[in-house]
């Protein structure tokens, strides 16, 4: 009995310590952001007085309203586009027989591991040639492509668990293949599609390298992480409290979404990863 008690103590101790370490860095910049710029915090310092001035300065100087809006547009476009093309392809892979099926699936696997660094240079010149650099398209089109691998494999898995009897019933009723997809497969796979969407949203929202390379010169389409990186780079030496406020501003929307949907995030990451 004694052994069990000490095991529990150790377990909760570890989990609590881990949680504090996981949450501390964000908490510390949140405190820093609330500290008046002329007040020295002495490192750990919990601010003596609280101000929201830093947020106002960061918001107006950094253009984060526009940046968050751009992030939202890009993320939603990628989620919708990638989910749509993925579920069409997954439907074919799961329910139809055609030559080259195995080879095409194998080719898709490449995209799961492919580092963006391996394609970013030609991508830059391709989009430049299309006249799309520094537009939303420069972020949307490539990220649909990089989401297709996960999307197709994920949706194939979801479609595999759609009961045969349902699909049969639809075809007996005379539904076409197209109609069966939309009336049976998609509605039944609703939760899986929602999880995929959450996952793609998170990845797209946080993507940094693509934004840095593909939309460096147009503040009007720069996503929040890129705007934050530029902002922090230019104020690095003299305004830590304003930089912290900017970082908190950029982090808050995703944190709020996470708190609401955390179960979906976590099942998405675990199931998505293990199903590979």
């Amino acid at each position: 009995m004694n052994g069990r008690r000490s095991e529990q103590l150790l377990g909760y101790g570890l989990l609590t310590l881990g949680t504090l370490i996981a949450l501390y860095p964000f908490a510390s910049i949140a405190m820093l952001a609330l500290t008046p710029g002329d007040q020295r915090t002495g490192g750990l310092g919990i601010p003596k007085t609280i101000t929201f001035d830093n947020f106002v300065i960061a918001w107006t100087r950094g253009g984060f309203g526009q940046a968050l809006w751009s992030s939202l547009i890009v993320a939603i476009a990628v989620v919708v586009g990638a989910s749509l093309v993925s579920l069409l392809a997954a439907y074919a892979f799961q329910t139809m027989r055609f030559p080259g099926r195995g080879a095409l699936l194998a080719i898709l696997l490449v995209g799961l591991i492919m580092p963006y660094e391996g394609l970013i240079i030609p991508l830059y010149y391709l989009l430049d040639g299309m006249g799309l650099l520094n537009t939303y398209w420069a972020l949307i089109l490539p990220q649909i492509a990089t989401s297709v691998s996960l999307g197709v494999l994920w949706m194939r898995q979801a479609f595999a668990s759609v009961p045969h009897s349902l699909a049969e019933a639809a075809s007996i009723d005379g539904a076409s293949r197209w109609a069966t997809l939309w009336r049976i497969f998609v509605p039944v796979s609703g939760p899986a599609i929602a999880t995929l969407g959450t996952l793609l949203f998170l990845y797209t929202w946080n993507e940094f390298l693509m934004a840095l390379v593909l939309v460096p010169q147009n503040p009007a389409v720069q996503t929040a992480p890129l705007a934050l990186s530029f902002f922090a780079g230019s104020t690095r030496n003299f305004d830590p409290t304003v930089t912290a406020a900017a970082a908190v501003t950029v982090a808050l929307p995703i944190l709020v979404v996470y708190v609401i949907f955390q179960r979906r995030f976590i099942t998405g990451i675990t199931a998505g990863a293990v199903k590979e």
């Binding site: 964000f26 020295r40 069409l88 390298l209 922090a232 976590i266």
Partner: protein
């Protein structure tokens, strides 16, 4: 069981209509992923400043890159990052799992969600938070001074000796949550009677961990290692937003050179050669990881 499933037609019949469903996905995949990947290889065979005409140099760029001490130094840093981004988080998460598998944890969902927060934050936010923690006047030094270890206080990311491990610690912090979340879900899928059997056999916590928990998590460990090793080898975001490779070259990584050579100094051929090299390294690393962690009972494939 009335009719044949119309979606599983007879053996000989092909569904040519399938390609219509595949076209949109593969169009994106081909134009914006596969083609650029192959083009990287092609560009690496030229000397090109990105604007004027390029000159064919064959494998010269690749040879230059493979014989460059600067690049190998960066690869060496990546290997150090594998320890911080993959090995340490895996071991730590396994310790956590070993302990919490011994009893029913209340509030596990809360702990899991909290420990996962670092992984969902934007890497730029992460970099800014840790820049502050590691700063000369930041919390870490305040703690050191508070406990009388002020002699160790320094600008952690600006010091030649500590910059690399400091960036590594950030990686450990980010990746631990991923490993933990994956392992918890693996733990929940291990049948409870396996634990009971081990306990009836009188296995202690350590024996039980190595006999039941660890083998039960093989698949999750494999996935976690693949994701974390890939992140360690790429690692552009955090390096770029904390140290930019400095001080000196003490935290450079291949992806840093790819970006710099391609978009700052305009040696596009050389940058592509590094990109090809990094891609090969990542694929080899993933292959090795899969092999080393494959199911011993699944036999050879």
């Amino acid at each position: 069981m009335r009719t044949v499933n119309p979606h599983r037609p007879g053996r000989r019949r092909y569904d040519w209509g399938a390609y219509l469903y595949l076209v949109p996905a593969f169009a994106f995949y081909l134009v914006f992923l596969l083609r650029p990947v192959l083009e990287s290889v092609w560009i690496s065979l030229f000397e090109w400043n990105g604007i004027t005409a390029s000159t064919w140099v064959g494998t010269q760029n690749l040879v230059d890159v493979l014989t460059s001490t600067e690049i190998w130094r960066a690869v060496g840093h990546s290997l150090v990052f594998i320890v911080f981004y993959a090995v340490i988080p895996t071991v730590l998460a396994l310790v956590f799992i070993g302990v919490i598998s011994r009893f029913r944890v209340r509030g596990l969902a809360f702990f899991r969600a909290a420990l996962f927060v670092p992984y969902i934050l934007s890497t730029v936010v992460v970099a800014i938070a840790w820049r502050w923690i590691f700063a000369e006047g930041g919390p870490l030094n305040a703690v050191l001074r508070g406990v009388g270890l002020g002699g160790f206080a320094r600008a952690w990311l600006g010091d030649f000796d500590t910059a690399l491990p400091s960036v590594g610690v950030i990686g450990t912090w980010v990746m631990f949550g991923l490993a933990f979340v994956l392992f918890v879900s693996g733990l929940q899928s291990i049948p409870g009677d396996l634990f009971e059997a081990a306990r009836i056999d009188g296995a202690g916590p350590v024996r039980e961990f190595f006999a039941v928990t660890l083998p039960g998590l093989r698949g999750e460990i494999q996935v976690a290692l693949v994701l974390m090793i890939t992140a360690a080898l790429r690692n552009f975001d955090i390096v770029w937003n904390t140290t930019s490779g400095g001080p000196g070259t003490s935290t450079t990584v291949p992806s840093y050179y790819i970006y710099r050579e391609a978009f700052v100094t305009h040696h596009v051929g050389r940058a592509s050669a590094i990109a090809v090299m990094l891609t090969v390294i990542i694929f080899v690393a993933v292959g090795l990881t899969m092999r080393l962690t494959r199911d011993p009972e699944a036999g050879d494939r």
